[in-house]
């Protein structure tokens, strides 16, 4: 499909001469089934959840070799949870480059970070929470991004002219609190969703005692991607009753940094973050805390430890958050994991890990992800999520959300 010429006009994308672009497309479709082992803790929650997904990708590559327009819409239909049924434009981005310069404009995704168990400094895109609770899935973010590849590192500047609200499960969905999160978000910024955010990032690769050292520093000012969830109170007769949660998105100033050091078979990684929330207190929540957080640890790979071609990776990371156990679930936790890579024709791989809360020793999250290729156009993912939680810990909200999940993906 690559290198076919597009015969229709693309004026909207500013592509004036059609024949100057080569067109390519692909399509990914999926079917996903989730089975929750226990009944939901809250009324209305389902035990089985089926959904289908569709993600086309359309690409116009400039024949001049220095520009491209990419369009990636996404849609999931969930047969149980209306809130999980949603569409998004993952990408609608024009990018052009010339030597060390690169400019991207449109809707896109950016990833910042080095650690595996938590993505602390990654702030450009909003989390598409209904897709996956690990925060790996993101909503498309409107942006203008400039990149300069300099001798003293890579510089990136972002202007972010539109805000995306985090997605939350509906009444039938799992991984939620007893109170539903309202669709009517409130903002600190007067311009609400139209507030323009800014970010800059510097990344640099150096050397320490002869081994690679990767450094980044970033700053962000704008609307927080992480809402404060404010209880909605209504009067039932004379009694005030909490009926739901309203997301409040404050303005924040954020600075972040990542370090990665790679001696021999080791990858030593850390991320640091400070968020200065521009709201001191909110009715219903009281004082709002600023956040200082860190995550750090290592990944070590054993090549062929079992005498076959498989590799075994060992991971350990510690998570800290200054806001404490009442406000954050990654506040004093230890993640231990292993990645088994079969190195077979089917690219099979298993990642298993447990995140142990050190404040509440009875609270831990176990996650196992396995994937393999069934044939050249079909892959299979299987996920097991097990939650154990003490009554007092935040994770207790999900105590009955142990899950088996299987997804089949088709590629065209």
């Amino acid at each position: 499909m690559r290198y076919q010429y597009l015969k229709v006009g693309l004026i909207a994308a500013g592509l004036s001469s059609v024949n100057a672009y080569a067109f390519d497309w692909s399509l990914e479709a999926g079917i996903e089934g989730r089975r929750f082992i226990e009944n939901g803790a809250y009324s209305g929650q389902v035990d089985d959840q089926w959904s289908v997904t569709l993600e086309p990708e359309l690409v116009w590559d400039a024949n001049s070799g220095n520009g491209r327009f990419t369009f990636v819409p996404y849609y999931r239909h969930d047969f149980a949870d209306d809130e999980r049924t949603h569409g998004d434009i993952r990408e609608a981005m024009y990018m052009t480059w010339n030597g060390p310069w690169e400019v991207r404009a449109g809707i896109g995704k950016v990833f910042w970070g080095v650690t595996e168990s938590l993505h602390l400094v990654d702030v450009i895109n909003q989390t598409d929470y209904v897709e996956a609770i690990d925060g790996d899935e993101k909503l498309g973010q409107p942006m203008i991004q400039g990149i300069w590849l300099g001798d003293a590192g890579t510089w990136e500047a972002f202007v972010l002219p539109g805000f995306r609200e985090r997605t939350y499960p509906g009444e039938a969905g799992r991984y939620r609190s007893p109170l539903l999160v309202s669709d009517d978000a409130r903002y600190q910024a007067d311009a609400e969703q139209s507030h323009v955010d800014f970010a800059v990032r510097w990344s640099y690769t150096s050397e320490l005692i002869g081994y690679p050292l990767d450094l980044t520093a970033s700053a962000f000012r704008g609307t927080s991607r992480e809402p404060l969830l404010v209880p909605e109170v209504a009067l039932m007769g004379a009694e005030p009753v909490v009926t739901g949660l309203t997301p409040f998105y404050p303005i924040q100033n954020q600075v972040g940094s990542t370090i990665q050091f790679a001696p021999e078979g080791w990858l030593l990684k850390a991320e640091f973050l400070h968020r200065d929330i521009q709201v001191d207190s909110l009715a219903g929540l009281g004082d709002i805390k600023d956040q200082t957080a860190a995550v750090g640890g290592f990944e070590y790979t054993l090549v062929g430890p079992f005498g076959n071609s498989a590799d075994l990776g060992l991971l350990a990371e510690y998570q800290y958050d200054s806001r404490g156990a009442d406000y954050a679930d990654a506040q004093n936790d230890l993640f231990l994991g292993t990645r088994y890579v079969f190195n077979d024709m089917a690219s099979s791989e298993i990642l298993a890990g447990v995140t142990q809360d050190l404040d509440y020793v009875g609270t831990r999250l176990f996650l196992l992800e396995a994937n393999t290729r069934l044939n050249p156009t079909m892959t299979l993912d299987a996920t097991i999520t097990l939650v154990t939680a003490e009554d007092e810990s935040l994770a207790n909200l999900f105590r009955r959300d142990d899950t088996f999940e299987v997804a089949l993906n088709f590629y065209f």
Binding site: R2, S26, E28, V59, D61, R68, M95, W97, G99, P100, E102, K109, V110, F111, G113, D136, I147, L149, T154, E156, S203, T205, E207, G210, Y211, P212, D214, Q260, A262, E264, G265, W266, L267, E299, Y300, T301, V303, G304, N308, S309, D311, G313, R339, V341, F342, N343, D344, M345, A346, S347, E349, N371, R373, P376, T377, T379, N409, Y411, F412
Partner: protein
């Protein structure tokens, strides 16, 4: 999905990954002949600049089942260090857009990164993984890196007939890196052009592990030889991998900016 390592400095690396180095007291004294041939071979493959190629990689298991990967390679020669390489996968479609960036180095471990398009994430690969298989193939990452003489000790063994109608210098090259998967490699270099037509790899127990045969040689820019078929046979597990180069172009205008981990989205 995980991939590691050096993938490419590419074809050039492959064609090159076995020769040259310093003669050291650890090796039998060949009067410096092995080193001399290696230096000559390196000299003949210097100055090619940059190249781009389309390749098919066919994996075969012991039962004869096949699995195919389509990929594109971009290579940039770096005169005072190892070369830079970028591999972009087109098929299987679930890994389409995955890119593998490597900077080979003479005096230190190679830098390697993997770009995962779904996450838009660039992951550094630790250098220790070099002895691991590349994309499930019988090629190890270290087989695919740019050929740097400083990474081996050499010994000239003998001359003998090879590849049906050629005569070859037979040279042993021992990797200096303690994390190499090999104790030694035996390379057959044809006497006329110093092309590595065949290489045997011996594992850490000094048993014959793999044999690489390179055929379909073509000359580019009136100087540089590249093999269009590279077949690696693993003698211990019965699997094999064939890499076919469909076309290779030189002087395509690649620069350092095309080999930057911050610009991997350009590659696609």
């Amino acid at each position: 999905m995980k991939m590691t390592a050096t993938l490419f400095t590419g074809i050039t690396g492959l064609a090159a990954s076995m020769l040259i180095g310093f003669a050291t007291p650890a090796m039998a004294d060949d009067g410096g002949r092995g080193l001399e041939l290696a230096k000559e071979r390196k000299a003949r493959d210097t100055g090619w600049g940059d190249s781009q190629a389309n390749m098919t990689m066919i994996l075969r298991n012991a039962q004869g089942e096949e699995s195919k990967r389509e990929m594109r390679l971009k290579n940039l020669e770096v005169l005072d260090d190892g070369d830079k390489g970028l591999t972009i996968f087109d098929e299987p479609r679930d890994v389409s857009g995955t890119a593998f960036l490597s900077f080979s180095h003479i005096a230190k471990p190679d830098d390697q990164w993997l770009y995962l398009p779904a996450l838009k994430r660039v992951k550094r690969i630790s250098s220790r993984n070099k002895s691991g298989p590349f994309m499930g193939s019988e090629f190890a990452y270290e087989d695919m890196g740019s050929f740097e003489p400083e990474k081996y000790e050499f010994e000239y063994l003998r001359d003998e007939p090879c590849a049906t109608d050629l005569t070859c210098h037979v040279i042993e090259s021992d990797p200096i890196d303690k994390y190499s998967g090999y104790t030694r490699q035996i390379t057959w270099l044809d006497t006329e052009h110093l092309r590595p037509v065949k290489t045997e790899y011996y594992d850490r127990k000094n048993s014959l592990l793999k044999t690489l045969n390179m055929t379909g040689w073509h000359q580019y820019k009136d100087q540089y030889w590249r093999a269009s078929r590279m077949e690696m046979q693993n003698h211990q597990n019965g699997k094999s991998t064939l890499i076919i180069t469909h076309d290779i172009r030189f002087d395509t205008g690649l620069t350092d900016a095309d080999f930057n981990k911050a610009s991997l989205k350009r590659a696609r």
